[in-house]
Each structure stands twice: as C-alpha cells, then as structure tokens.
Amino acid sequence: MSGTLLEVRGLRTVFHFLEGAYPAVDGISFTMRPGEVLGLVGESGSGKSVAGLSLIGLIDPPGEVVEGAVLFKGRDLRTLGEPALRQLRGKEIAMIFQDSLAALNPVLTVSEQMVEAIREHADVPLAAARERVIAALRQVGITSPETRIDQYPHEFSGGMRQRVAIATALLNRPDLIIADEPTTALDVTIQGQILAEMQTLARETGTALIWITHDLGVVSELADRVAVMYAGRIVEIGGIDDVLDRPRHPYTRGLLDSIPAENAPGSRLRQIDGTAPSLAARPVGCAFRLRCQRAEPLCAEREPDVTEGPGGQSWRCHHPIPGGNQP
C-alpha cells in the first residue's frame, strides 16, 4: 500500500469541568505513511497520551473529542460507532500502554488473552491460534513460550510483560501501532532489547508506529519523523534529522539543550525556566511564551499559525530560530 496511512486534521479533545471545557489536545494535524515510525514527544501535560487515545476513540468522560478528522486508510474514524471501532482496534490499529500490568487481565493466562485477541477478529481454530501465539512470543524474545503461554501476567517480569503486550499488538498484523511510553518504566538494558525487537518487527511487517515518549534519545534512535507537543499543540514536526539538527521552535531547542549529554560534564545545564502550563491555566497567545527566550510582544497577542519549511518540517512560532542553524 502506498500513499497516506493516517491523516489527522485539527483534532481537538477537551475535558469538561464545571466552569466549561479545556482542551487537552488543541487542534493537531499530521500524516503518516505506511511503515513509518513517528515519535510523538512531549512532557507531562503536553497532551501526547490524550492524543494517542483520541485517535482510536478511547477517551472517556469527562474527556471528549469535539473536533477534527482522523482519516485512517481513507475512513474518518470519528464517524465510526463503537462497534466498528472495536472491529478496528486490535486488528488494524493496536495500542500498547505504559503500564503493562494494568493492560493485561490478571485473572486470565497469557494464552487465553492472546488467543482471544486473534479469534475476536478472525475465525481461527483454537489450536492454530495457540500456535500463532507461541510463534509471536518467541519472536519477541520470550524463552520457552510453549510453557510460558499458560502462565499468568504476574508471573512475568516487567520487561517480559511489555513484550507480551507488544506480541499481542502484533498478532493480527496491524497497519498501525500506537505505543504510549511502553519502555519508560523499564531498565535501560531491557529497553534496548524491546526497542530492537520493535524495530525489527515493524520493518518486517511494514507496520507503522507512533511512539509516544518524553525521551528524545529514544525517538532519535527509532523514529523517521518526530512531532514535538506542548500544551496540546504540535509546535514542531519534521524528519528526525531536520528537527534534531536544525530545530526551529525554541521549545525543541530548549529540550535538546537541556539533555545532560549535550552539555559539558560538570557544567551548568542549559535549562528551560518555569513549568509547563496546566490544563486550566493556558496563557493567551503562544502557550510557551512565558518560558521562551525569544518571546516578543506579538507572542502575547496571537497564537502562532503553522509555518511550512523545507523538507516537510513545519513549526508554530512567531519568532522561530533562523534556518540553517547548525548545533
């Protein structure tokens, strides 16, 4: 399949409070091609997790997706009812969550859960489904899958459980996987293993991947493109090399500069002062202006629109970092 796999246009998700509604995701737009890896980067409060959930209709009250289109293989997911969405989830789009223990049913064995995932979407006999599950577990690096398949989630370590979650996501060969911080809680060496497996499997099956994280290093090693979110908006998006080497938005630049490895050991880290705004306390104009070194009076008046740059890189800033700015 060529062309666009996913096109998100002006997606807005709000949370209802007594005094009104505040947007957690405030009009984001991006596209994805088949087999592409997109890193969605942001800190807590940026709306990145809500964005992931919004794509496949997993937002519960008091949250609500109020605007925008999510075109997946041409169909607008927002127009689909819950039954149709449920058909889609697990088959064409799969999701991996951060807390694998919470994502797996503790009273069902792994085989029961994974077999259910297969047979929910296709008429496959039990024995054949089990075989597929064993093969999938072996592929993600779980040893002796034939015996482990009948164990319960709590009998697996954190890293193993996350692998089970990944294997489950890949079972039905989805076109898109949305992974929300799946390795954040894991040790570095285990994270390395899982990233390796994700990469191989994604390449082999041609699955597109949205990797939601706060870790720019992980995104750098895994992704083809990256979108940076702040206060519910995508403030910068582009190819991984473009954004990391030539960031145009001051927040991206600030994030990159504050990474310890990017500063001489022992020196004072270049930090971004202040804290991200909470949902109900979004500054008028550009939400980042209170922490931005490049803020101008215009930034307090109007929210910046999207500026398109070369190579598919775009950003939202009134006073962006000049192009050609080599680190």
Partner: protein, 305 residues
C-alpha cells in the same frame, strides 16, 4: 462544588458550552461539606445534652410526679394540669421528660464509650504499625482474641462480674470496641509507614511518638473515623440491649433501652406508649447518627482523593 475563579486576562478562558451541550457535570452530586456534617453532629450532641432542661419534669426527682398519674394515655392531663403528650409510665413519669433524659444517657454512654475505645484502639494500632515485629505480633494477637468473641457475650460476662452502672456499661463497651479500631488503624497506618515522608522523618531524627501522632495519625485516621461514626450508633444499641436485658444502666438513670424494657410488660394490655415512644426515639437517634456518619465519610473521602 462551584469554585469562583477570578478572571485572569492572561489565561485562556474555558470554552463555554451551550446548555444543550453542557456535559452533565451538574449531575455529579454536590459533595457534602465536612463543615455541615460536623455542625449536624454538634447539633445532635447539644440537643442530647441540653434538651433535658426543656423537659417539663425531672424524671429522677420523685417529687415532680405522682404515681396517681400512672399509665395515662398520650394527650391526657395529669393531676397538676400538665398535658402528657406521650403519656406516662407505670410510675407516673411523663414520657416526654423520660425520653429526653433517656436520650442524654444513651448519648453519653455512646459517645464516651466510642471516644475512649477510639483513643485506645488508635494508639494500639499506631504502636503496632510503627514498631512492627514482636510488638505488632503481640498486640494483634490480643486484638484477634477480643474480636473472636461476640460483643454481647463479652459485655454480658464483664457486667456480670463488675455489676451495673453507667460507668461500668461504658467500660464494657470500650473493651468490646477498641479492638476493631486498632485493627483498622494498624492497616491504614502501615500503608503510610512505608511512604517516604515517614522515612524522611526518621532520617531527621524525630522521636517515635512524634512520627506516630503527628505524621502517621493524621494521614491514616480517615478510615477509622468513618467506622467510629457508625460505631457510636452501635455502642448505643449495645447499651440499649444490655439495659433491656437488665444488666446495663441502673433504674435510677434510665436510658432509652431501659425505658423500652420498663414498658415491655404493658405492651400486651394496650398501653403501648411506655415502650413504643422510647423505642422510636432510639430509632431516630441512631438514624441521625448514621446519617451524619455517612456525610462525614463522604466529606472525608472527597478530601482524601
């Protein structure tokens, strides 16, 4: 709970929604205020303690009533011209006065017993959670022992040994109830004990009693207080039962339970008011306490989350 937010022009205001689209947030019940629940509790307390002053008679003062007025039906007039709205008992005592005074005794016993049991139980629970190990094992075995017996049985046996009297009844109820508080307190305190702020307190060299009462206690008392509000009613019921059985408060200081007992023999002859009205009063008292307890619990829950 509508909070008035001062308008800050530098912040983006919320999206105001049309009435039809307005999410049914309003349907979320208004969380009861801790203050109103406590005020209700205080009103009940005050009523219980002060109302007897409004009673037409003092049922303990033999000179204020006459046996000639006995078993008057509700609404009749006594010999001194007093309208006995709820009738009189076999001694000629006005039921209204008897009930008001009886309520006071019931409340006194209930609250005193509960507060004492609470103090003991909470301290034991804190000690067990704070020190763990052998102390915990020892105290919890004691708790298990007490909780192994039905409360009525324990109270009966104890009162048979130590005799009748308001103070003895309170003691019996305390012996029965403290163990429950101890167990709940220990469970809640153990959760807090593991948290880093307690470890920080230890690192800073705070003495154990301080950590127990100023750090563990405020953060774990919530669940115990919830139970306590219900247990006040339980204590009153227990006292009423004991008095009804004849081992509770003495005849000279009748509680509602004793009043019900006194009137029992007259139920069959149609003089229902001597038992019924104290019984109803008991019902109302316990019901109000439970209601207040519910409100307190909800208020505490919303604070805790």
């Amino acid at each position: 709970m509508t909070r008035e937010r001062p308008f800050d022009p530098t912040l983006v205001p919320p999206l105001v929604e049309t009435p039809q689209r307005r999410f049914n947030v309003r349907r979320i019940r208004r969380r009861p205020n801790m203050k109103t629940a406590l005020i209700a509790l205080l009103v009940i307390l005050a009523a219980g303690l002060l109302l007897p002053l409004a009673a037409p008679q003092n049922p303990y003062d033999l000179s204020t009533f006459s046996v000639m007025d006995n078993r008057l039906a509700p609404g009749e007039r006594s010999l001194d011209g007093l309208t006995v709205w709820l009738g009189t008992d076999s001694q000629g005592r006005d039921m209204v006065s008897a009930i008001l005074y009886g309520m006071r005794v019931s409340l006194l016993v209930g609250l005193a017993a509960t507060s004492l049991a609470l103090s003991i139980g909470v301290t034991v629970g804190l000690l067990a959670a704070m020190f763990g190990g052998r102390i915990d094992a020892l105290l919890m075995r004691l708790v298990d022992f007490i909780l192994g017996f039905p409360s009525i049985l324990v109270a009966l046996v104890l009162l048979a040994v130590i005799g009748r009297g308001v103070d003895k009844v309170i003691l019996a109820i305390v012996v029965v109830q403290w163990a429950t508080y101890a167990r709940i307190m220990r469970a809640a305190a153990m959760v807090e004990r593991r948290k880093e702020y307690v470890e920080a307190a230890e690192n800073l060299g705070y003495p154990s009693w301080r950590i127990m009462f100023l750090h563990l206690l405020p953060n774990s008392i919530g669940s115990v207080l919830v139970v306590a509000t219900i247990y006040v009613a339980h204590a009153i019921t227990l006292e009423a039962t004991l008095s009804f059985l004849g081992v509770g408060v003495p005849v000279t200081q009748p509680s509602l339970g004793l009043l019900v007992a006194n009137g029992f023999e007259f139920l069959m002859s149609g003089e229902y008011w001597i038992s019924l009205f104290p019984g109803l009063a008991l019902l109302v008292l316990i019901f109000s306490l439970n209601l207040v307890g519910d409100r307190l619990r909800e208020a505490l829950d919303s604070r805790r989350s």
